[in-house]
């Protein structure tokens, strides 16, 4: 942390500010119609409208809740299965080819399947987010475990650690940076899958807002939904960073 905190925030705000300026210029230059690219002001007033109608909070809350629960479930499973595959050659041989294949099933393709298996309601939505969060965590964790310095593993073995204690005292700590970046990717992909999840018989949430505004041609609401997703994505990422940093240094 050589750059002081305020400076970092200012630096981080540079690019968004630049984007905002370019956006305003592009919108007001008349290259695009307002329906194609509404100026930032209009998006702001769309925000105001949502706030006035009291809907914004609900959209934000339900989406955040879905992502958090889904991410918790998906990443937990990713850690478990990734740990298993990283530890055991046999498990890896059986599990990993299938998982790698399923990984390529796009979020949109899950929608009809989950609808069929789990119906409507919150469950299929949360499950879809969990599916999204699972894969990056699984991949990163299993890859990281497979590449830990064998010298460190030997220390664990030399001091009688095997199985779960070995995982807890040597493997996971050694793979921590990779696991954290896997968790962050998982969280990000959870947000990505949220939109598909909110295609499932949904009438609230940011993903719904996005799709719905696309269908009804409300470009201002659409941009607002995108920005809100980005902001929430960044916020949750930062939060995860802080939480995990604390967890690691303790």
């Amino acid at each position: 942390m050589t750059v002081p905190h305020i400076g970092r925030i200012a630096a981080g705000a540079l690019l968004p500010a630049a984007i905002l300026v370019v956006w305003q210029l592009a919108a007001s230059a008349g290259i695009y119609s307002a329906a194609q690219l509404p100026p930032p002001g209009e998006v702001l007033s769309a925000l105001g409208e949502l706030v006035r109608r009291g809907e914004l909070w609900h959209h934000l809350a339900i989406s955040t809740q879905r992502v958090l629960i889904g991410f918790a479930a998906g990443s937990a499973l990713g850690l478990t299965l990734g740990g298993l595959v990283g530890l055991s050659r046999a498990a890896s041989a059986v599990i990993s080819p299938t998982v790698q294949a399923i990984r390529a099933v796009p979020s949109l393709a899950w929608v009809p399947l989950l609808l069929l298996w789990l119906g409507i309601g919150e469950t299929p939505k949360i499950v879809l987010v969990a599916i999204g969060a699972f894969f990056p965590v699984y991949t990163t964790v299993s890859a990281a475990l497979a590449h830990i310095d064998p010298h460190l593993i030997e220390v664990g073995r030399a001091y009688g650690r095997r199985g779960l204690p070995l995982l807890a005292t040597v493997l996971f700590p050694a793979a921590t940076p990779a696991i954290l970046s896997g968790l962050r990717l998982g969280l990000a992909q959870g947000w990505l899958f949220l939109v598909a999840a909110e295609l499932i018989a949904s009438s609230m949430g940011l993903g719904f807002l996005l799709i719905d505004s696309q269908n009804t041609g409300r470009t201002d609401v659409m941009l607002l939904a995108i920005i809100l997703l980005a902001v929430l994505g960044k916020l949750s990422d930062t939060l995860l960073g802080v939480v995990s940093k604390r967890a690691v240094t303790v």
Binding site: S33, A34, A35, Q36, H58, A61, I62, Q65, R66, V111, P112, L115, L116, G119, I120, G121, E122, T123, K125, L199, A201, S202, S203, M204, I211, D212, S213, Q214, N215, T216, G217, R218, V221
Partner: protein
């Protein structure tokens, strides 16, 4: 946060029946029904709970029907046919509108003013949807073959963008996007024909019909009442539609009062079949259905007119 789980089953052991309907922006009557809560009131005494799911499009309504997530769903007629042909056990029990939701649109400054002039041009449309079938029928009527134009497959909203950007010469558009484009970007409708639209129909699952014919009848009756209400209260209906579909009132007014005919015979039958016959070859050619035989069987078995015939308005 309270999510979208279906309302909890009553815990006192009494068997409550759930009636699960969809609502859609392309089905104004459903919006009215959902807001006025007529079905809820009427059925509450019989221990029936009513739940509503938004359908973003015919495809989504069909998906939900297939997954048995809803009991009655609203789609375009052609979409219902395709679903039935591909094995979804659904029956059309009611026609809720004859919409003119599709038309051929060109940009503001376009010199194209008739379908015949589209020869050799690039046209955006979403395959398998009403605007696409509309386009094919319009071409056919103008003496053009599908091969005479380039059809660019784009989702409805994206077709609008492509048209306004000038990436395509014309767009087989869908309301309310089409009306929005007219109002905002000055796009022009060069060809309209209400007869080429495949109606808005209400479909129910066969199993649902077998188990709860009374509920199906109640739904059909309620739709009749909603159509009536819209006719009687056009201003309120426009306001409601604008708010629900998140469009401006002028657009809502144009769509609802000018381009949607609600005073139609709700009994599914010959009128719809006529449209189906025209689009059938297209469905086969595009592999939207597995075989022509399937599609023919579907045309013959799709309709269940008895509920609409027996409708009453309470």
């Amino acid at each position: 946060v309270q999510g979208e789980d279906a309302p909890a089953e009553s815990t006192d052991g009494a068997k409550t029946v759930a009636l699960r309907l969809d609502y859609a922006y392309y089905n104004p009557a459903s919006l009215v029904l959902r807001q006025q809560k007529w079905l809820e009131t009427e059925l509450a005494g019989k221990g029936v709970t009513v739940s509503w799911q938004l359908s973003a499009g015919s495809n989504k309504a069909n998906e939900a029907l297939r997954a048995e997530a809803i009991d009655v769903g609203s789609t375009a007629g052609a979409a219902a046919l395709v679903a039935r042909a591909n094995g979804s056990p659904i029956k059309t029990i009611d026609v809720f509108s004859q919409p003119e939701w599709a038309a051929i649109v060109v940009p503001k400054d376009s010199t194209v003013s008739s379908v015949a002039q589209l020869k050799g041009k690039k046209i955006a449309a979403t395959k398998g949807t009403d605007p696409y079938f509309f386009l094919l029928q319009a071409l056919d009527e103008a003496g053009l073959k599908p091969a005479d134009v380039t059809v660019t497959n784009l989702q409805h909203a994206d077709g609008k963008t492509a048209l306004e950007r000038g990436d395509v010469d014309a767009w087989a558009g869908l309301d309310p996007l089409m009306a929005t484009s007219e109002v905002d970007a000055g796009s022009k409708l060069i060809y309209r024909n209400v007869g080429f639209n495949s109606y808005g129909v209400l479909n129910a699952r066969e199993k649902f019909l077998a188990e709860h014919p009374d509920l199906a009848q109640a739904v059909v009756n309620a739709y009749e009442k909603a159509r009536q209400w819209i006719k009687d209260n056009p201003d309120q209906a426009v306001a409601l539609y604008a708010k629900e579909a998140k469009i401006s009132e002028p657009v809502a007014k144009a769509v609802l009062t000018e381009r949607t005919r609600l005073d139609i015979d709700p009994v599914p039958g010959a009128a719809q079949k006529a449209v189906f016959e025209k689009i059938l070859p297209v469905l086969v050619a595009d592999a939207n259905v597995k075989s022509e035989a399937d599609a023919r069987t579907a045309i013959d078995t799709l309709f269940e007119p008895k509920y609409a015939t027996a409708r009453t308005v309470s």
